[in-house]
C-alpha cells in the first residue's frame, strides 16, 4: 500500500518540481544573458496556454509515440522512487528515448527527421555511460537494486566519482543544453528550427513539456543517488549540478554530432571504465590478500 502512495504522490508532485526548475532555468539563463527574464511560474503559464490551443498534428503516428514517451518516463521515475532495479530503469529510460525519436521520425518533415537522427546519436553517446553507471553501482554494492544504495553506509560518490563526472556530461545531453543541444534546443537555431519537436504543437507539445519535467526530476534523482545518505546532501548536489549545467549552457557553443559522440566516448566511457577497472583490480588484490 505504501508503494502505491509513493507512486501516486510522485506522479502528481514531480511535474511541479520539474516545471519550477524549468522556470528557474529560464530566469537564471536570462540573467546570464543580461535580460530580466520571465516569472518563475512562466513554464506553467505556457503549459496551460498550450493545452488550450487547437489540436494540430502532422500524422497520427507521431502522437502515439509521445504518449508512450510520457508513460515510460513516468515508469522510469517510479523505478527510482520505488527503489527498484537501476539497470532496468536505464533500459526503460532508453525505451522512452526511442519512443521520442520514433515520434520525430513519424512525419515526412526534414527538420524532425534531422532531429530524430541526432537524438539517436545522442543515445549512442549517453546510453553506454548510463549502463556503466549501473554496473558501477553493482561493483560497489553487489546489487543492482536502488534500495541497496539507500541501505549502504558508503555513499556512491566516494568510490564512483569518475562515473559521477561522466554522468554530469550525460546530464548536459539529456537536459538538451549547449554544447549538446543537437536534436532540439531551448533556444532558436535557424538550421534546426525546433529539431525533433518541430512537428508538435498545442496540447501535444504541452505533453512533451510535461515529459521533460518528469525527466528533469528523474535525472536529478539519479544524481542525488550518489549521496543517498543523508538524502538532503544528495539533493543539494543534484541542484548544484543543475546550476552547473545552466552555466555550461551559457558559456559554450553548440558542437557537432560527431564531436559529441567522440567526446562522450573518449571522456565519459573512459572515465567509467577506468572506474570499473579500479574496482576489479581492488577486488583482485583483496581476494589475494
Amino acid at each position: 500500500m505504501n508503494a502505491w502512495i509513493i507512486a501516486i504522490v510522485t506522479v502528481i508532485v514531480a511535474p511541479f518540481i520539474g516545471g519550477f526548475l524549468a522556470g528557474i532555468d529560464r530566469r537564471i539563463t536570462a540573467r546570464l544573458q543580461g535580460r530580466f527574464g520571465p516569472p518563475i511560474l512562466q513554464p506553467f503559464y505556457d503549459f496551460f496556454k498550450l493545452l488550450g490551443k487547437s489540436k494540430i498534428a502532422a500524422s497520427r503516428l507521431q502522437l502515439m509515440w509521445i504518449y508512450a514517451y510520457l508513460v515510460l518516463m513516468i515508469t522510469a521515475l517510479l523505478f527510482l522512487v520505488l527503489r527498484l532495479d537501476i539497470l532496468l530503469m536505464m533500459f526503460i529510460l532508453g525505451f522512452a528515448g526511442v519512443c521520442f525519436a520514433l515520434g520525430g521520425f513519424s512525419s515526412k518533415s526534414p527538420y524532425s527527421h534531422l532531429g530524430a537522427n541526432r537524438e539517436l546519436m545522442q543515445m549512442l553517446a549517453y546510453e553506454p555511460v548510463l549502463l556503466l553507471l549501473a554496473l558501477g553501482v553493482y561493483a560497489q554494492n553487489g546489487s543492482f537494486l536502488i534500495s541497496q544504495i539507500y541501505a549502504s553506509p558508503t555513499p556512491l560518490i566516494s568510490r564512483l566519482w569518475p562515473i559521477f563526472i561522466a554522468l554530469l556530461v550525460i546530464l548536459t545531453i539529456k537536459l538538451r543544453k549547449s554544447p549538446f543541444d543537437l536534436a532540439t534546443s531551448h533556444h532558436a537555431h535557424q538550421e534546426l528550427i525546433k529539431g525533433i519537436m518541430t512537428e508538435y504543437s498545442g496540447p501535444y507539445y504541452a505533453l512533451i513539456e510535461l515529459t521533460e519535467w518528469y525527466e528533469i526530476v528523474l535525472l536529478l534523482g539519479i544524481v542525488s543517488l550518489f549521496v543517498a545518505n543523508p538524502l538532503w546532501v544528495g539533493i543539494v548536489i543534484a541542484l548544484a549540478a543543475y546550476l552547473l549545467e545552466l552555466f555550461v549552457d551559457n558559456v559554450t557553443a553548440r558542437m557537432t554530432v560527431g564531436w559529441m559522440v567522440r567526446f562522450v566516448w573518449a571522456v565519459g566511457i573512459t572515465l567509467c571504465i577506468l572506474n570499473l577497472i579500479w574496482f576489479w583490480v581492488f577486488a583482485a588484490i583483496k581476494g589475494v590478500s
Partner: protein, 661 residues
C-alpha cells in the same frame, strides 16, 4: 501417448518422408497440405517430448543405422568434393578433403568405428535438447508454412518457366528432421552426421536461385562450415587417442574436463562458433542473405545457427572455471559489439537482420562463457526469445519484399501508409528485440547482471546495447515517415503469410508475459542440465528476482536485481495500446509539415517551392555513417581482433594441455 521410439521417428524421420512427398507431389495445394500436416505433427510431437521429460534413446537395429549414417556421411563428403571440382572452388575442395581423409583414417585406420559403435546411448534427450526441439518444431514449422506461398510469389516474380518450389520445400522440411537429430545426438558421429546434413541443406538452399552470387555465397558457407566439420573430426580423433568417450555425455560426465581434454572441447566450441557465424566467420551468414527469405528465417536466424550456440552451451560444464571459458565469453562479447556496430551502416534490411543475428548469437555464446547459473539461464532464454522475434522479423522482411519488391531500407520509407498491417507487426518485432518488457531485453538484462566476473565482456555488452538501439530505431523510423493522411487501407495478404506472422506475434507476447512459467516449466530444468550449482533466478510475485549470488560480497543475502514482468507489460499496454485505440484525430486537424512556408499545397503533397519556384519533392535519407562504421572502415579492425581472440582461445587450451603432459 506415443511410444518413445515413435516420437523419435516423428522428430527425425517424419520430416524426411514429408520432404520426399513434397518433392514428388508438384501440385501447389496438395504440397501445402503436406507441409501443414507435417508442421502440426512436429509441433504436437515436440510438446510430447516436453511432457515426457528427460530420456535417452538408442535405435533397435543400431548396426543398420550406423551403416546408413556412415554411407550418407561419405556420400555427402563426396558431393562436396564434386561441388569443389565442378565450381572450381578450391577452398570447398580442400576442406572437403580435410574432412573425408581424416574421417576415413579415423574410422577405418585407427579403429574409431568400433569405439563409436560402442557408444550408448545414441541419443540423449535432456531438457536443453527439448528446448531446442520446441524451437525447431514450432518456429521452424511456421516458417515452412510461410514458405508455401512465399515461393509461389517468388517464382511468379522471377517468371520461372519451371517451378523449383518442390526442391525448395524438400530441403526446408528435411532440415527440420536434421535439426532435431542434431540436438538429440549424443554419439559424436551422429552429431557430425546431422551437422553435415545441415551444412549440406544450407548450401543447397543458399544456392537455390542459381544466380552467380547465390552459388558463390553458397560455396563460401560450405567451405567455412567445412572448417567446422574438420575441427569436429579432429576433436573426435584427439578424444579417441586420449581414450576418452566419443559422446557428449561422456565428455561432460566428469564435470570440468581434464586439462588434456580441453583442446577437443575448444575444437568443438570452435565448430559451434563457425556455425553461429561468430567473427571472423561472419561473412558466410551475410552472404546467405541472397537466399529466399524463408531460408534466412529458418536456417540463418531461428534454428541452424542456434545449433552452434547449442553446442557451445552444451559443453559449458566441460570448460567451467577455465581460461577457455573467459576466452569464449570474450569471443562472443566482441562479436556482439562489432556486429551491432556494423549493423548501423547497413542499407539492406536483410543485412541488418543478419548482423543483428550474429550479434545476438555472440551474446548467447558470451553468456555460455560467463558460465554462471544466471548467465546460462540468460543464454537459454535468449535462444527461445531470439528464435521467435527474429523469425518474425525475417518473415516480415520477406512479406515486405513481396509488397515493394526491394530489400533496401531506403525503399521502405513511409511503408506505414502503404502496408499498415505489416508495419505494425514489424514494429512489434523490432521493439521486442531490444526494449522492455520483451524477452530479449530480459535476457540482455540478465546477461549484464551476470557479467561482473568478466568485466571486459560487460563493457562490450554495454557498447553493443547502445548500437542496437540506433540501428533498430532508425530502421523502424524509415517506415513511419508518412504524409499527413488518415485511414490507410490495410493490405490484403495470403493466409500463408498472415497466419505464421500472427502466431509468432502471439508467441512473442506469450513467452514474454508468461516468462515465469516458461522459466519454471522449461528453462529451469534445461539450466540444471548445464550447471548444477545454485539457482540464479526466482519467480517472485509478478516478476523475476535475481538471487543474492554475487562475486563481490559473498555474504550478500539481498536480491541482486528485480524484473517486474507483468507490471512492465501493463505499462507497455498503457503506453502503446491506449493511444493506439483512443487517440482520435479528425481530418481537419492534420497539417502539412513545416517547410519554411514554401509548402506547395496541402496535406496531400510533400512538394515545396525550391529555387525559382520550381516544385520539388521533399527527399529524406537515412543515416548510415559508412565512413566511420562501414564494413570498409571497421572490418580491418574487427577481423584482426577477432582472429587474435580465436588464436588466444586455442592457445589457452593448448597451454593447458601442454601443462598437463
Amino acid at each position: 501417448m506415443l511410444p518413445y521410439n515413435w516420437m523419435m521417428a516423428v522428430a527425425i524421420l517424419l520430416p524426411v518422408v514429408a520432404a520426399v512427398l513434397v518433392y514428388i507431389i508438384r501440385q501447389y495445394h496438395a504440397r501445402g497440405v503436406i507441409v501443414i500436416l507435417a508442421a502440426i505433427a512436429l509441433i504436437v510431437n515436440s510438446i510430447l517430448f516436453l511432457l515426457h521429460g528427460k530420456d535417452t534413446f538408442s535405435p533397435a537395429n543400431a548396426q543398420m543405422w550406423d551403416m546408413v549414417v556412415t554411407v550418407l556421411d561419405y556420400l555427402i563428403l563426396l558431393f562436396y568434393i564434386y561441388v569443389g571440382i565442378s565450381l572450381k572452388n578450391w577452398l570447398v575442395l580442400i576442406f572437403a578433403l580435410t574432412q573425408i581423409i581424416p574421417l576415413a583414417w579415423f574410422e577405418f585406420g585407427m579403429g574409431g568405428r568400433a569405439a563409436l559403435a560402442n557408444v550408448s546411448p545414441t541419443f540423449v534427450v535432456d531438457h536443453l535438447a527439448i528446448v531446442m526441439c520446441l524451437v525447431i518444431s514450432i518456429v521452424g514449422s511456421l516458417i515452412c508454412v510461410f514458405a508455401i506461398r512465399y515461393m509461389y510469389d517468388h517464382e511468379h516474380h522471377l517468371h520461372l518457366e519451371k517451378s523449383r518450389a518442390s526442391r525448395f520445400l524438400f530441403w526446408m522440411v528435411l532440415f527440420l528432421g536434421a535439426m532435431n537429430g542434431l540436438v538429440f545426438a549424443n554419439n559424436l558421429i551422429y552429431l557430425y552426421f546431422f551437422w553435415e546434413v545441415t551444412t549440406l541443406i544450407c548450401f543447397q538452399l543458399i544456392a537455390h536461385d542459381l544466380t552467380k552470387e547465390a552459388i558463390d555465397n553458397a560455396a563460401r558457407a560450405l567451405w567455412m562450415n567445412s572448417i567446422g566439420g574438420t575441427a569436429l573430426i579432429i576433436a573426435m580423433v584427439i578424444l579417441f587417442a586420449k581414450g576418452a568417450p566419443l559422446s557428449l555425455d561422456g565428455i561432460l560426465s566428469g564435470g570440468v574436463a581434464s586439462a588434456v581434454l580441453l583442446l577437443p572441447v575448444a575444437l568443438l566450441c570452435f565448430t559451434g562458433m563457425i556455425k553461429a557465424a561468430q567473427l571472423p566467420f561472419q561473412s558466410w551468414l551475410l552472404g546467405a542473405m541472397v537466399a529466399p527469405t524463408p531460408v534466412s528465417a529458418l536456417l540463418h536466424s531461428s534454428t541452424m545457427v542456434k545449433a552452434g550456440v547449442y553446442l557451445v552451451l552444451r559443453l559449458a560444464p566441460a570448460y567451467a572455471g577455465t581460461r577457455l571459458s573467459i576466452m569464449i565469453a570474450l569471443v562472443g562479447a566482441f562479436t556482439f559489439m562489432a556486429a551491432s556496430g556494423l549493423a548501423i551502416s547497413q542499407t539492406t534490411g536483410k543485412r541488418v537482420l543478419a548482423y543483428s543475428t550474429i550479434a545476438n548469437l555472440g551474446l548467447i555464446i558470451a553468456c555460455a562463457g560467463i558460465n554462471t547459473p544466471l548467465a546460462i539461464t540468460a543464454a537459454i532464454l535468449l535462444i527461445i526469445f531470439h528464435a521467435v522475434s527474429k523469425g518474425l522479423l525475417f518473415l516480415c522482411a520477406g512479406t515486405i519484399e513481396h509488397i515493394i519488391w526491394s530489400r533496401e531500407i531506403e525503399d521502405m520509407e513511409g511503408l506505414a501508409a502503404k502496408a499498415p498491417l505489416v508495419t505494425v507487426i514489424f514494429a512489434i518485432g523490432v521493439l521486442s528485440m531490444f526494449l522492455p518488457p520483451f524477452g530479449m531485453l530480459l535476457g540482455k538484462w540478465m546477461a549484464l547482471e551476470s557479467a561482473s566476473t568478466i568485466p571486459l565482456a560487460a563493457w562490450l555488452f554495454v557498447i553493443a546495447s547502445a548500437a542496437t538501439i540506433v540501428f533498430w530505431a532508425k530502421w523502424l523510423g524509415r517506415f513511419l515517415q508518412v504524409l499527413p493522411k488518415l485511414g490507410a487501407k490495410i493490405e490484403s495478404l495470403s493466409l500463408s503469410y498472415t497466419v505464421p506472422l500472427w502466431l509468432l506475434v502471439l508467441g512473442i507476447f506469450g513467452v514474454g508475459i508468461g516468462v515465469a512459467s516458461v522459466y519454471t516449466g522449461l528453462v529451469q530444468n534445461a539450466v540444471a542440465d548445464v550447471v548444477t550449482s545454485g539457482q540464479a533466478l526466482a519467480v517472485q510475485g509478478w516478476g523475476l528476482t535475481v538471487n543474492g549470488y554475487s562475486a563481490v560480497s559473498s555474504t550478500a543475502n539481498f536480491a541482486v536485481g528485480n524484473y517486474p514482468v507483468w507490471p512492465l507489460f501493463i505499462v507497455f499496454a498503457i503506453a502503446v495500446l491506449i493511444p493506439f485505440i483512443f487517440v482520435a484525430i479528425k481530418p481537419g486537424e492534420l497539417r502539412p509539415v513545416y517547410l519554411c512556408g514554401e509548402q506547395a499545397g496541402g496535406t496531400d503533397t510533400d512538394e515545396w517551392y525550391s529555387t525559382a519556384d520550381v516544385k520539388t519533392k521533399v527527399q529524406l535519407g537515412g543515416y548510415y555513417f559508412q565512413g566511420v562504421l562501414g564494413e570498409a572502415a571497421l572490418n580491418p579492425w574487427t577481423y584482426t581482433l577477432s582472429i587474435v581472440l580465436m588464436v588466444i582461445m586455442f592457445a589457452v587450451a593448448l597451454l593447458a594441455m601442454g601443462g598437463a603432459l
